[in-house]
Assembly symmetry: C2
Homo-oligomer: 214 residues x 2
DNA sequence: CTGCCTCTCACCCATTTGGGGGAAATCTTA
DNA sequence: TAAGATTTCCCCCAAATGGGTGAGAGGCAG
């Protein structure tokens, strides 16, 4: 594999659901001497299809998108192409988002408020196999490690909570007794270091454990 | 005032805290034959300062920014320059955000998931004095009208709630009795059409009444 | 097979929250 | 100034939530 140059630039694919952001990322990459955008997609499914078509050297992928998000798309692509290099770019530095993206096989996680030079640099660095994570992002990830891991069941309870359900309703939804729901909340309060359900809901949203909207 | 043409293009100013988005909006406007970006800013305060310096024909302004947001910046600019034409562009179509932006004097409110052609079109239309609001946005705004207006005090209570405070703590914070807090919640539940405080908190966030983060 | 973890459920009891009234004080504005 | 909205507070009572403790069933890893 020869290193990219003016004749054989690094082939980049852009994935983002916002047209102007897509335009900016394309302009950013194309203005770099050794990189060139060869494809774009507006959501996760399209990203997977287009990836197979064009087989880019690297993907610059948004995280939050309608339908299939960036983490799922990363997982899908790397399942078929384990060497795929994907840089996730997001608005938020929420620890669960970061964790999910990296778990899914993203090589890096960067933020949209970074200077465009840093974004381009990360893309090139990742292509070269240099693992880079911005300090802000790494710090958030470290914070997450310090938090006790939340189990699948607990996540389901949180999800129902954020939908506005009462203990009884959550119990019905999950086919368990409401005493069990209370029990889950007790452990959740401890893990999230909060005192009541409202705080728990907000905390879950702020950490990206549960996604509002859609 | 002569109409913009290739020699005298419409002078546009771009305000957004995300460098790649700024780059995209600039590229978008500059690729239009009758428009040209003459200045940019990364937050509300900078927007005001730069506006005074360059006096653009129109501003394309992001809503959510660290420090002074787009609505406050719009208000500040139009206080000094009542004829300033400002198009707010946002990720979210939350009714309170839309309302605040238009209340602040924005001429239109558009979304970042719109096609770039529509964005450019809106900017030009607004300059010509044609008021345009995307149907999605107009619909959200209409929904808001159907909701009973929330008072300032109630908003403060909601804000404290989203911070995770209990009734007693909210009472202490606002120097009122906790019976009064309960009273405010009673009316809030009715206005937001929810049954408990957790739902109220989520609803307040989803409508953009209270902003999480920062 | 034996811990360890998760999920499940139960009981008790204190506190918090929510729903029904009503009412005085203040502030706005027609 | 009088109507109207807002903010403040009160009472009562029912329902929901939260904290402590304990414990059985099932799964998974060493």
């Amino acid at each position: 594999m020869s290193s990219p140059n003016a004749e054989h630039p690094l082939k980049v694919m852009i994935v983002d659901d916002h047209p102007p952001m897509r335009m900016g990322l394309i302009a950013l990459i194309n203005s770099h001497p050794r990189m060139s955008v060869i494809a774009e997609a507006a959501d996760g499914e399209e990203a997977f299809e287009v990836y197979e078509d064009v087989l880019p050297d690297i993907v610059l992928m948004d995280l939050r998108m309608p339908g299939m998000g960036g983490a799922e798309a990363t997982l899908a692509i790397r399942k078929r192409y384990p060497d795929a290099k994907i840089v996730v770019i997001s608005t938020y530095d929420w620890d669960e988002d970061i964790h999910r993206a990296l778990q899914s096989g993203a090589a890096s996680y960067i933020l949209k408020d970074m200077p465009i030079e840093d974004i381009a640099e990360t893309v090139e660095a990742v292509y070269k196999g240099e693992a880079t994570l911005p300090t802000t992002v790494a710090k958030r990830l470290a914070e997450r490690e310090r938090r006790e891991p939340i189990t699948d069941r607990e996540r389901e309870v949180l999800e129902a909570l954020v939908k506005g359900r009462s203990n009884k309703e959550i119990a019905r939804d999950l086919s368990i007794s409401d005493e069990t729901v209370k029990s889950h909340f007790k452990t959740l309060f401890a893990k999230l270091q909060v005192r009541d359900r409202t705080e728990a809901a907000i905390s879950a949203i702020r950490h990206g454990i549960i996604h509002i909207d859609e």
